[in-house]
């Protein structure tokens, strides 16, 4: 077995500490130089149900989870059974020996049972049942031969707030479980972990990455309304508000959220909101207002399973065409679809520049998978010192002072952009309006003025093309098969390309991280070199495939669509390719 290559699942019910336990273990491994991809799978309820956290460990970078599991840490009976079919021969399941677990089928599957006196240890050594998770983590570290100090450090840090007594008890509980696992199960368990040297890495999810980019890019206002999986953006920004001078506001609904952001932006502050599909629905009228008044605004649309309330804690990519066409009438918008946690950071950096440069809404489409998964990222990958804030044709007071002619907010221009005065200067008094308007903002119904303003606004979409990156090409030059994707499936597709290559198939990926205005020329150029094309999407209708056809006429050969709320893995992609037919995974 290769060292430092393992897939661990921690399962139990909501409230049992699945998520925090998983995060602690991930941290202990990441600090040992190992690289992590962590996936969170949870139900729409606060207590009970069945949740799990999955940690994939590797010595190199990982961008996606995979299916075969080596080790399960089961906090309840359900967890001990739920993943049986995923466990590879020789894999094992750690669980408290007090649980009623039916292991009769395990031997046949070559699954090892690792019952441990977790509760006993927790109670006798730590003095409390709640330390059961700590014991389980100790067990996991023990069975994999990982350095105990690494998990001890994380425990120490996590419980520091609760005082030295609590820290000490927890460390002792972990240690006892560690020793138990070392003695009883480690010898028979093949997957081993040990620290390796490497630069410091953070464990970061897509929402955190986006927020860091946004803060660095000068976002100073966020209004939002809680909605999974976007809520943590508002919460993150709120936690950083005082440090960075950000005004954050939980509003009465999503409509108010985007409107407040529009107001703040109109007054000159970089502003955003973040939501999921249901909340985005409530924003579409205001989006069109921003399009017509030419107000910059950044909207994160973190997708989840639809339609309607649908699968609120599960992932999906089903809002692409809605985002492209949301709101009545026609106006320019820019849509980014970051494909990795790293690209979420970049999207945070770029979105605000694009919004101000083109004075129009920028929608950042992510999804539950991207926003809740964590990945080890080198600190240098997020380089704050290189950030360039580009406020486009914004007119600050010092610019306005110099103005000699009259100021017309909606002045016609070749690139479609008109200089935008920040309200408050005596030379820059104007009225922004959602009705069609003359260059000074007064309302008109004149046909010629209308045509000119319409053309001016739509011209921005053409101008913006120069800032739109072509789709990313990854893999073989002369591919037999090419995956096409957007957003969060990038990791699965890249790894599928690699795996096919390893098994002798020339494969490649075309991935869209910038999707609107659609980079049609670049796309066609790439597509012309491909043989068989397969669009892989987390939706039913194949929205990217449809879009490509609309924009280029190119008909993708095959489609792999998955819409059960679970993110596709490279294992599934490769299997579907081999099946050789259109597949709903």
């Amino acid at each position: 077995m290769p060292k430092n290559n393992i897939n661990i699942k921690i399962g139990g019910e909501a409230g049992q500490g699945v998520e925090s336990g998983g995060a602690g273990l991930a941290k202990a491994l990441s600090r040992g130089g190992l690289q992590i991809y962590g996936l969170s799978d949870y139900m729409s309820r606060i207590r009970g149900g069945y949740n799990f956290f999955q940690i994939r460990v590797s010595e190199g970078p990982v961008y996606v989870h995979t299916d075969p599991v080596n080790l399960v840490i089961a906090f309840n009976e359900e967890a001990a059974q739920a993943h049986l079919s995923e466990i590879v021969p020789g894999g094992g399941i750690i669980y408290d020996k007090g649980l009623k677990v039916d292991t009769s089928s395990w031997a046949g599957r070559q699954v090892q049972a690792f019952p441990m006196p977790l509760k006993e240890i927790a109670k006798q050594i730590g003095g409390s049942d709640i330390m059961l998770n700590t014991a389980a983590l100790g067990g996991a570290v023990g069975v994999t031969d990982y350095e105990f100090e690494r998990i001890a450090d994380v425990i120490t840090q996590n419980f520091k707030r609760k005082g030295p007594q609590v820290v000490e008890s927890n460390v002792k509980v972990a240690e006892a479980a560690y020793n138990f696992a070392q003695q009883n199960y480690a010898p028979d368990f093949d997957w081993k972990l040990s620290p390796i040297p490497g630069p410091p890495r953070m464990l970061v999810n897509g929402n955190q990455a986006f927020c860091m980019g946004a803060i660095a890019s000068g976002c100073r206002f966020i209004a939002g309304y809680p909605m999974t999986p976007a809520t943590t953006i508002l919460e993150y920004m709120t936690a950083k508000a005082n440090k960075f001078g950000i005004v954050t506001k939980q509003t009465e609904d999503e409509t108010a959220a985007i409107l407040m952001a529009i107001g703040a932006s109109h007054a000159g502050v970089r502003a955003m909101t973040a939501t999921s599909g249901g909340g985005f629905c409530l924003m579409v009228e205001a989006l069109g207002l921003a399009g017509c008044t030419e107000t910059p605004i950044v909207v994160v649309l973190a997708q989840r399973g639809g339609p309607s309330t649908g699968l609120p804690t599960r992932t999906e990519q089903s809002d692409l065409q809605f985002a492209i066409h949301a709101s009545h009438g026609e106006w320019p918008r820019i849509i980014l679809t970051p494909g990795s946690i790293d690209q979420c950071f970049e999207a945070g950096l770029r979105a605000f520049n694009l919004a101000e440069k083109y004075q129009t809404p920028v929608i950042v489409l992510t999804d539950l998978y991207l926003t809740t998964s964590i990945r080890s990222v080198e600190l240098d990958a997020f380089d704050f010192s290189k950030v360039k804030v580009d406020r486009g044709e914004t007119l600050f007071p010092e610019d306005m002072d110099k103005l000699s002619n009259g100021y017309y907010r909606y002045q016609l221009s070749e690139n479609g952009v008109s200089p935008r005065a920040i309200p408050g200067h005596e030379k820059g008094v104007y009225v922004a309006v959602g009705d069609e308007h003359n260059i000074d903002g007064s309302i008109t119904e004149d046909a010629e003025v209308r045509n000119a303003q319409m053309q001016k606004r739509m011209q921005k979409l053409e101008t913006a093309r120069r800032d739109i990156r072509p789709p990313e090409y990854y893999g073989a030059k002369n591919p037999e098969v090419t995956f096409i994707g957007w957003g969060s499936t990038r990791g699965a597709l890249m790894e599928s390309v690699d795996r096919l290559k390893a098994s002798g198939t020339r494969a490649s990926m075309i991935h869209f991280a910038d999707i609107w205005p659609f980079p049609e020329e670049a796309t066609l150029k790439l597509l012309e070199q491909c043989r068989e094309t397969i669009a892989v999407e987390q939706n039913y209708t194949g929205q990217l495939a449809n879009l490509i056809r609309e924009q280029t006429g190119f008909k993708v050969d095959r489609r792999i669509n998955k819409y059960d709320g679970r993110q596709i893995s490279p294992d599934e992609v490769v299997a579907a390719v081999r099946k050789g037919v259109a597949a709903n995974v």
Partner: protein, 289 residues
């Protein structure tokens, strides 16, 4: 006192002759001039409706937004630049009908915004349907046998929600309205100014004469506008006699902006984007290691 004409616009109002909105426009300009404000220091946000065209008919910063949606925009502007004097102008359908949710919540927040409602008890721009303030039995194209809902009482709602400034004025008396508006703008917090506005086309009941026969000024009585219970009674007084003036005012409650820590350093738009030491940024990463 700044010059009133500074606030004049070249645009000719598209309102019907004798519409109550003219009086409100005059009053707004007078109040601003009376407070020695200049056009660029003022931001007038409005919704959609006849009256919401007001920002176009005067010279000052403006944002003529969406039907029912102006209040959150006004709040966003105020949070981004609290140096601006922010006035929100809506119709009754706009502010109390489709905008009832935003109306309810802005009161609780008490931002330093003056909200002028051109209350004509009808939907003007869409040609005369019932509004939430229409009195029960009001006949329109959508209620040919008269409305069957109780009319909304916005003043009572403002009081129920802890509003700190609640007033009523009459478009037929712009001078009085300007006076009340000055108090509203000076008031630190959300100030509701319900403006009785005759719609000469679609409301044949609440006419200039109707009001002239009924309105009386609270300042001219011994009414005490700081008494919440008294205000409650005044808010529901109608029919024979209609009080205008300040119904309720509570001073001393902090505004929303005053309670936002970040804004203690000045208006957000004037705070520098950069200048923080790089460690501050680096700490974002460090905490995730």
């Amino acid at each position: 006192m700044s010059e009133l004409k500074l606030f004049n616009s070249v645009e000719k109002p598209t309102w019907c002759p004798a519409c109550g909105d003219y009086g409100i426009l005059v009053a707004v300009k007078q109040a601003l001039a009376g407070l020695d404000l200049l056009p660029h220091q003022v931001m007038i946000v409005s919704g959609i409706g006849c009256g919401s065209k007001l920002p176009h008919y005067m010279h000052s910063n403006g944002y003529n937004s969406l039907h029912g949606r102006s209040l959150p925009i006004a709040q966003g502007i105020k949070l981004a630049n609290h140096d601006l004097t922010v006035i929100d102008v809506t119709g009754d359908g706009d502010g109390y009908g489709i905008g009832a949710g935003h109306f309810t919540h802005v009161i609780r927040r008490n931002p330093d915004i003056t909200h002028v409602v051109q209350n004509n008890f009808v939907y003007g721009l869409t040609k005369g349907q019932a509004s939430p303030t229409s009195h029960k039995g009001f006949v329109t194209t959508t209620s040919p046998e008269g409305t069957i809902e109780a009319a909304m009482n916005p003043l009572a709602i403002a009081l129920a929600n802890g509003g700190t400034f609640v007033a009523r004025t009459f478009a037929g008396d712009p001078k009085h309205m300007a006076k009340i508006l000055m108090e509203a703008i000076k008031h630190k917090g959300y100030a509701l100014v319900d403006a009785l506005q005759p719609c000469v086309i679609y409301n044949k009941i609440n006419t200039y004469d109707y009001y002239r026969e009924r309105v009386y000024k609270l300042e001219e009585t011994d009414y005490n506008a700081t008494d919440r219970v008294a205000a409650w009674h005044k808010a529901i007084e109608w029919d024979d006699r209609i009080p205008i003036g300040i119904i309720y005012q509570e001073t001393g409650r902090p505004t929303y902006e005053e309670q936002v820590k970040v804004l203690k350093a000045g208006p957000l738009v004037k705070q520098p984007l950069d200048g923080r030491p790089s460690e501050v940024y680096e700490s974002l990463k460090a905490e995730l290691v």
